[in-house]
Structure formats: structure tokens, C-alpha cells
């Protein structure tokens, strides 16, 4: 029987609510525009890290090309608003559809592969997209200069510029909604099947699961969420650059997930939020930031393979077992 107060997820829901409360209050406590912006980008990165965890954590696919979906969304937003002159909402819908298509394509290609070969294929696909868009320039309709590559393409919102407050609360609402949705998915039947595939593909197949189809679905769901984060990023930053496809970004998603706890959704989201705000807020240059992420990743993988949330969950479980033994005696 389930005891009141001990949910299978421990104290996580309460902690999440407290964190959301603090984040809601922060702007009112007089945080300046720079930190608001850092946190806004942090919220979007948190959704991105969570979306990695769908295919990468729950379904156990070692994906190293997740930036492909993010970059597809930002580039679509930029190209459609700046070059084709479409309004932003229409471009956002197109961007979401294209990321889903990219997710389906990657899913079809990598579903038959196993273990490290998934990592190689997704890495190669992401790098190919990055290399292509790094060299690809577009002629801007106004003036004779070119867009694309490192310099990027502007995203036209056609609204008055978003105030930092609006962007902050919109991104926070998006993060809360996306986290809720991802947790729902993780606890649904589909999520259970993904966890089974991640545990052992053979036994999942033996119990009659069409593993290829479910792996493809995991990629599509993950890509859709990553695309949504990309649309938010394009609107918030106002520019799409080739860096949106970079291996560093894919690597960050995998790092946040590994540090927070692979397959827990909450872990990657919190790890992304905390690591990004801490390192960006203290003004460390980008190279130093990624270097710190890599160090954190190596230490976590070596000493806490389950990540922070995984380690906490393990501790709670062993404590419960000790209690149960005590009651039985």
C-alpha cells in the first residue's frame, strides 16, 4: 500500500514547486535585465536538455546530434521571417513541423543501430548539418551583404521588441508546461516502453514490443520539444547562427542530462538551469564554460553514473529498504 507523503519520486514535486515559486518571485525582487536574460535563455536550454532526455535518457539512445533539431527550428524561423517575409507565428509552426520531420528522419536512420553506433551516426548527422550551414550563405534582400554561417541570420518578430520581463515569464511558463508534459509522457505507457527498450532491447522485443517504431517515436517527440525550445530561442535571441547546430550544443544537452540524471527528466532540466545560470551569470567566457561542463561531466560519469537525481533516488531507495527491514523484524 502506498504511504501518504512518500511518492515514488520522493520529495521532487515539492522541491519543483518551491523552485518555480522562487523563479516567479525573482524579477519582482529587482533582478536586473542581464540576469533576467541569462535565466530566460537558461529556461530554454532546460527544455532542450529535457527533450534530449526523451530519446537519450528514457529510450536509452546515445544521441550526440540533438542540436540538429534545435538548429533546424531556429534556422527555419530566421529564413522564413527574414527572407520569405512570413509572420513569426507561421514561421514558428513551420519550424516545429520541420524539426519533427528531422526527428523522424534521424529516427528512421538510427533506430536499427545499437549502442555506440547510434552515437556515431547522430554525431555525424549533427556535424554534417553544422558544417553545411557554416559554409552556406544567403543573400539578404536588403543590401548586398550576405547572411548565414557564424554571423547568422536575424529573426524578425514584427512586434515591438520583447521586454525582458515578458520574455522571462513566457519562457518560465514554457519551461513549466514542457516539464509537466515530459513528465506525463515519461509516466505514460509509451514512456514505460521506452524505459523497457533502454533496459534491454532483447527482452523488450521478446515481450512483443516493436522496438524500431517506439525508438522512432522517441526521436520524434524529443525533436518536437527541441524544436519548440529552438523557436523560443530564436524569438528571444533574435538571431540564428550556425552555432545552433554545433557539436558543443549537442554535447551540452548530453552533459546536462548525465549530470542531472539520465532518464529522470527533472534532473536534466534542473542541471541545465543551475549550471547555465551559475556559469553564465558569473561571466566566464564561453570556452571556459564548456570546459567546466566537460569537467563536470567526466567527474559525474566516473563517480555518480546515475547523476545527481539518480544518486538521490538510489539513497532514498536504500533508506526505504532499511526501514522496511526494520518494520519486518
Amino acid at each position: 500500500m502506498k504511504k501518504p507523503g512518500i511518492s515514488p519520486y520522493g520529495r521532487i514535486p515539492g522541491a519543483l514547486a518551491a523552485a518555480a515559486g522562487v523563479l516567479l518571485l525573482l524579477p519582482l525582487a529587482g533582478l536586473d535585465a542581464y540576469f533576467l536574460n541569462v535565466l530566460t535563455v537558461g529556461f530554454l536550454l532546460a527544455v532542450f536538455a529535457g527533450s534530449w532526455d526523451i530519446a537519450g535518457g528514457l529510450a536509452g539512445q546515445i544521441s550526440l546530434g540533438h542540436a540538429l533539431f534545435f538548429g533546424t527550428a531556429t534556422y527555419t524561423c530566421a529564413l522564413l521571417t527574414s527572407l520569405a517575409g512570413l509572420p513569426f507565428p507561421l514561421a514558428a509552426v513551420a519550424a516545429l513541423l520541420l524539426s519533427v520531420a528531422a526527428g523522424a528522419a534521424v529516427g528512421v536512420l538510427s533506430a536499427p543501430l545499437k549502442g555506440p553506433f547510434v552515437a556515431l551516426l547522430t554525431l555525424a548527422l549533427g556535424e554534417a548539418a553544422h558544417e553545411f550551414f557554416l559554409g552556406q550563405t544567403f543573400f539578404s534582400p536588403r543590401g548586398a551583404y550576405s547572411w548565414g554561417g557564424e554571423g547568422g541570420i536575424p529573426v524578425l518578430l514584427r512586434l515591438q521588441p520583447l521586454s525582458p520581463w515578458t520574455a522571462y515569464y513566457a519562457a518560465l511558463a514554457f519551461l513549466c508546461f514542457a516539464t509537466w508534459a515530459m513528465l506525463r509522457i515519461a509516466r505514460s505507457e509509451e514512456g514505460l516502453i521506452w524505459t523497457a527498450i533502454s533496459g534491454s532491447e532483447l527482452s523488450a522485443r521478446a515481450s512483443g514490443v516493436d522496438i524500431l517504431r517506439h525508438k522512432r517515436r522517441a526521436y520524434v517527440v524529443g525533436a518536437a520539444l527541441a524544436g519548440a525550445a529552438g523557436v523560443g530561442f530564436a524569438a528571444c535571441v533574435g538571431r540564428a547562427t550556425a552555432d545552433d547546430f554545433s557539436l558543443e550544443l549537442s554535447f551540452q544537452a548530453a552533459t546536462f542530462a548525465a549530470v542531472g540524471g539520465r532518464g529522470t527528466i527533472v534532473g536534466p532540466v534542473l542541471a541545465a538551469l543551475v549550471l547555465h545560470s551559475l556559469l553564465q551569470g558569473t561571466g566566464i567566457p564561453p570556452a571556459g564554460r564548456v570546459l567546466t561542463y566537460a569537467l563536470a561531466l567526466l567527474l559525474t560519469l566516473r563517480f555518480f553514473p546515475g547523476g545527481v537525481v539518480g544518486a538521490l533516488r538510489e539513497r532514498a531507495r536504500s533508506r526505504r529498504m532499511v526501514q522496511a527491514k526494520g518494520e519486518a523484524l
Partner: protein, 287 residues
């Protein structure tokens, strides 16, 4: 078509060094049984060592090769012993961790030497035959790569190579006949990393040195290793030279960034068309 002949010759020379690097990766895959994504970082390390020595006025390629090998061996043994060995049964930790080490090194190199490509002076032309120039460094790197590959092939077929082959074949038997399997693993990892750094030092004057330069040879070696095995060193050589020619030709005929794109396309095709092709090499474990 003299430029074409020059391009082909350069492709042959760079391909020989890439073969060296691929042989190192194959060694890691065979003995340690992990897909190592940090191999490119050791290539970059070797190139930067050659650059620093050249910058200080030591123009001798052999000094650069020696220094690069020693430094990379130390780092490789450290990485193999303290990270790869303990986590090697977790494919996720190995893939993301070795990529993490590579990115750690890339970012460190970017902080020390800056993000922009730097280069080493190639030296004066040595021989010019009908418009095709041979340079001392190019010839030295080609001969040294060939020599090291031959040495590796000899080592693997000699009695001294038996422990490696036995660990690759069956680690339990290797352990039960009294071999220190863990030690063989991290020493192999270190030696293979040293080989990658030697390839980087040899190729340093031929390509632009930048923090992310190791990615192209990493992808190239992965293709070679997927397509061939660990034992046949000369298969590795011909495949790597072929890919070196392909990438040089595509850079010459299309545009420089197409050579990397082409290599990425090749590895994607290879993985998609042969989804189970490599599991024969990394066998015995349920992923």
C-alpha cells in the same frame, strides 16, 4: 594537370599519417573494446606540440614527434586508467565521456592558442619534378608513418604482441593465465593515443592547426575502423590512403569544407547500410 598530381601526392602523404591514427583507433577498439571519441583530441595535441616547438625554433620533425608521443602517452594512460577502464562497460559513459574529454581539450586549446587557425612553415621545396614539389617534411612524415605502421604490424604478429591479441580475443583467459588485463588495457590506450599524436605532429605543417582540427581525422579513422578490422594493418593503410585522396580531391575540386561533409556522408552511409557490421568486432556484450 600538374596541380592535380600535386593534390594526389599530398593526399597520399596525408593518408599515410591518417592510416597511423586509424591503426591506433583500431587497437583501442580491439583491445579495450570501446569506441573512443577522444582520439581526435590527441591528434590535435600532437599538432600543437609541433607548432609550439616550431615556434621556439626547433624545426626538427623528429623532436616534435617524440615530444608529442611522450605527452600523449602520459595523457592517454591517465585517461585510460582513471576514466575509460572503470566505465568501459557503460556505452553511454564511454561515448559521452570520451567526447567530453575531446571537447575539454578543444576548449583548453582555444583558451591557450586562440580559436583561429595557425600554421607552421612547410620549409623550402626539396625536389621539384615537372611542377610537383616534394618537401622534406612531407617525405619524412610519409616514411615515418610507413615505418611505424610496419612496426605495429610486426609487433602484433610477434610474440610480444600476443598479450594484446589474447586480451582482444578473450579477456577471461588472458586474466586466468596471469596477465594484468587492466594494465594491458590502459597501456594500449596510452600507446594508441601516442600514435594519434604522432600522426598529428607529422601532419601539422600540412594542415591548418585549430582547436577543432581533430574532428576530420577522427571521422576518417572511424570510417576506416568500421570498414576494416584490427588485425589487418595494411587494409587500414589502403583504406586511409584512399579516404585521404578522396578528401584532398574533394577539397580541391569542390571547396575545402566539402571534404569533411563528404567524410560525414560516407560514415552515415556506412552505418545505415551495415547496421550490424561492427558488432562482430565489439561482441560479447548486450548493449
Amino acid at each position: 594537370m600538374t596541380p592535380l598530381a600535386q593534390v594526389l601526392l599530398d593526399g597520399l602523404f596525408t593518408g599515410a599519417s591518417f592510416a597511423l591514427m586509424a591503426a591506433g583507433l583500431a587497437l583501442i577498439l580491439g583491445v579495450v573494446k570501446v569506441v573512443n571519441l577522444s582520439h581526435g583530441a590527441f591528434f590535435t595535441l600532437g599538432a600543437y606540440v609541433a607548432y609550439v616547438l616550431d615556434d621556439r625554433g626547433v624545426g626538427n620533425p623528429f623532436a616534435a614527434v617524440f615530444m608529442a608521443a611522450v605527452i600523449a602517452f602520459a595523457f592517454g594512460v591517465f585517461l585510460g586508467r582513471s576514466f575509460i577502464n572503470p566505465v568501459r562497460s557503460h556505452p553511454f559513459s564511454v561515448a559521452v565521456g570520451s567526447l567530453g574529454f575531446a571537447i575539454l581539450f578543444e576548449q583548453a586549446a582555444q583558451m591557450i592558442w586562440g580559436p583561429h587557425p595557425i600554421s607552421i612553415d612547410l620549409g623550402d621545396p626539396w625536389v621539384a619534378l615537372g611542377g610537383v614539389t616534394l618537401r622534406r617534411w612531407g617525405v619524412a612524415s610519409f616514411l615515418l608513418s610507413l615505418g611505424l605502421l610496419g612496426g605495429l604490424a610486426f609487433f602484433l604478429s610477434s610474440p610480444w604482441g600476443l598479450p594484446l591479441k589474447l586480451v582482444a580475443e578473450d579477456e577471461e583467459i588472458a586474466g586466468s593465465v596471469g596477465m594484468d588485463v587492466e594494465k594491458i588495457r590502459y597501456l594500449t590506450f596510452g600507446a594508441a593515443s601516442a600514435i594519434a599524436a604522432v600522426a598529428g605532429a607529422l601532419l601539422a605543417p600540412a594542415i591548418a592547426i585549430s582547436p577543432t582540427m581533430g574532428r576530420v581525422p577522427l571521422i576518417l579513422s572511424l570510417i576506416v575502423v568500421i570498414a576494416s578490422g584490427m588485425e589487418k594493418v595494411w587494409n587500414i593503410f589502403f583504406l586511409a590512403v584512399g579516404l585521404g585522396l578522396l578528401s584532398n580531391l574533394s577539397a580541391y575540386l569542390l571547396a575545402p569544407h566539402w571534404s569533411y561533409l563528404l567524410l560525414l556522408a560516407v560514415i552515415c552511409l556506412l552505418l545505415v547500410l551495415r547496421p550490424t557490421g561492427l558488432s562482430a568486432t565489439v561482441r560479447g556484450r548486450d548493449y
